[in-house]
Assembly symmetry: C2
Homo-oligomer: 393 residues x 2
């Protein structure tokens, strides 16, 4: 009795995503329904085949007043009495939804499971959005004292620069690369290329992080359809297999960590993911990582094992994570350019992986994309999920 080994293997047989951006005419449920209907269509099944809905959503309550969002989605998709579960782990709510859906299929309890993520963030004004997002921190030890996420990640950036010589220019190059990629993604919020100078002239938010170091406030939804691997090929020519579904926790408070330049939960989760998939970081062809701020992508390179600790800045500078580099990262545009509807982000990353693995990414296609990794972070790293997807079972 060892645990940590799924009894049934699981595949992704369909995907659906909305345009990411400011959707003044669409609410929480309209966004979720749009992505859900697309995903069910693309899986070649009917809504009646779905046996469970799992929906990631960070804070319907604080952003819109609406809790109970997954049942609302079942309702507006016309899918009653199909059961629906909401998962939440701040900005990793989507990753948690996928892990929950994965276990639901692996357990034998459900065959077809719709796993979605959604956030409607633009119905509140700026400070209120910042307050809602602060719910991802340890409220009593961070938010009460005025901490904001740009401030938290600025501390991480300063320490990384001090300890490892990471430069302002290297931070900027992350944003430039991600906007370069997002330019080719029709679902991205900001489809425009930017320069290092643009980043460095943009408004200061929390020194050293400037506006163009920060992911935006975004509305959007994304859905994938899961099925047991054994029957996936009956429904699609191109099933994508989930080879690992791993998760770890860390302190919510930054002050409680031994080393703030490392996200311990990323290190733990990716180790477990590589163990499940029987792979190492060298086997990963490309990745979607959680670049809520430019410094977060640099830390992720290191914590995921794409380079050694402290070398993340050089990795971006040497072009290794650009399209055509050794390990392309955030070909979707990442959170920076594609946008960051917090509850949807984890699923949007999976959709980019599936699109790349199926060779359908157009001008941002990674050559020989066989194995992809998705890295989704809640808060400043208190929750991290890592999924590894493969074209081959």
């Amino acid at each position: 009795m060892s645990g940590l080994k799924p009894v049934r293997e699981v595949a992704i047989i369909g995907i659906g995503i909305t345009k990411f951006g400011e959707h003044w005419n669409l609410g929480l449920k309209e966004l979720a329904v749009q992505a859900g209907v697309k995903a069910v269509d693309s899986a070649g099944i009917s809504g009646e085949d779905i046996q469970l809905i799992v929906g990631g959503n960070m804070s319907g309550g604080l952003f819109t007043g609406q809790e109970h969002g997954s049942a609302l989605l079942a309702d507006y998709l016309g899918m009653n009495p199909t059961p629906a579960i909401r998962t939440e782990g701040a900005c990793s709510s989507g990753g948690l939804a996928l892990r929950t859906g994965y276990m639901a299929v692996a357990s034998g309890m459900h065959d077809f499971v719709a796993v979605g993520g959604v956030e409607k963030m633009t119905d509140v004004y700026g400070p209120q959005a910042t307050t809602a997002l602060a719910g991802a921190m340890d409220y009593e030890t961070e938010a009460y004292f005025g901490a904001t996420f740009p401030g938290i990640y600025a501390l991480i950036a300063r320490r990384h620069m001090h300890k490892y010589g990471t430069t302002r220019r290297q931070l900027s190059m992350v944003a430039v690369k991600n906007h370069e990629n997002g330019f080719h993604n029709p679902y991205a919020q900001y489809r425009r290329k930017i320069t290092v100078e643009d980043v460095e002239k943009s408004a200061m938010v929390a020194d050293p992080l400037r506006l163009l170091d920060c992911s935006p406030i975004t509305d959007g939804a994304a859905t994938v359809i899961l099925a047991p691997a054994d029957i996936a090929k009956k429904h699609t020519d191109k099933p994508i297999y989930i080879k690992a579904s791993a998760q770890a926790s860390d302190t919510l408070s930054l002050f409680a960590r031994q080393d703030i330049t490392t996200l311990g939960a990323t290190v733990h989760a990716v180790k477990e993911a590589y163990r499940q998939a029987k792979l190492s970081s060298k086997d990963i062809d490309f990745a979607e990582v959680h670049d809520c701020f430019t410094i977060a992508e640099i830390c992720a390179y290191e914590d995921l094992g794409f380079t050694k600790k402290g070398n993340g800045g050089k990795l971006i500078e040497q072009g290794e994570t650009a399209l055509g580099g050794r390990i392309p990262v955030n070909t979707s545009g990442g959170l920076k350019s594609k946008g960051h509807p917090v509850g949807a982000t984890g699923i949007a990353q999976i959709i980019e992986l599936v699109t790349q693995l199926n060779g359908e990414a157009g001008k941002r296609q990674v050559k020989n994309a066989n194995i992809g990794l998705a890295h989704n972070v809640g808060g400043s790293g208190a929750t991290v999920t890592v999924h590894i997807l493969s074209r081959d079972r």
Copy 2:
């Protein structure tokens, strides 16, 4: 490939619960930690054995500003890097946590899983609590127009009285019975007996529902420890087996239902639960049902199959659901007397079932308690979970 059959059977090997009530000196995380530590102790394992935490919480965001509650719990329990998932389905968040934890064990991914529920409701003033709870409704079609949950359930009560002749006295008798039971429950919020007259003289809230028809605002937490059935007896002499874990959805809005006196999701979920357990309503020895209002318990009698539709009022009047009756209901005191910390309620119901099945319920013990049922409702019935527990595997 049929689905809906767990690959591994699952048992409960430990329980822990806080006193329910107004905890002015304890916050969200202190309550959750208290219940979690008790449960781990009672399971005879150590915190390091836990491989996953699943925590039900309806609205940490609107009640306390704190989202990301499950990772916070892992943190304050000293359990990093153990993964933690929050589930939410309004007042059925606890039931969803149990279903999610159940699938995590059944899937083979995790052996020991801590499943908890928590709500800290008294940090906000009354109207703000009502607003938070309204997040369980379809916000745009109900809450915006001034609907409150007492108002919604008052509509159900009026219709039930009109259609089936249910009486004011029968409603009162539900509250009287539950306070009778809660008097003997050391964890209950209101340990005092009340009379039919007390109920009928209490303040009018939403005609015909009076104050003593309504469950209260409560702080509290509850946790159970799950393990694969195959190894349960290594850890406890008295494992309790989960024979069914079922869930269904219905419209959030009351106006969208054909018959507001029936909770369709209860009917669907219990049918699936009886199928999974290979049992019928006649096999159930006792039950914890979701009596958020007295009328809800009467509807539950009918929808769960304990009596025919329309006969729920007579069931309470004939004493059949009292301790010593044919099918004792809410021996814990129910939501009415024990209290209703919304995210914790679904797990607290499970703890009463385990306590009864183990013969440890003292003066409220049901004789020959072999099979118990728990019924947890989100909103006015948009999400319902039904679990069936047994002493025998």
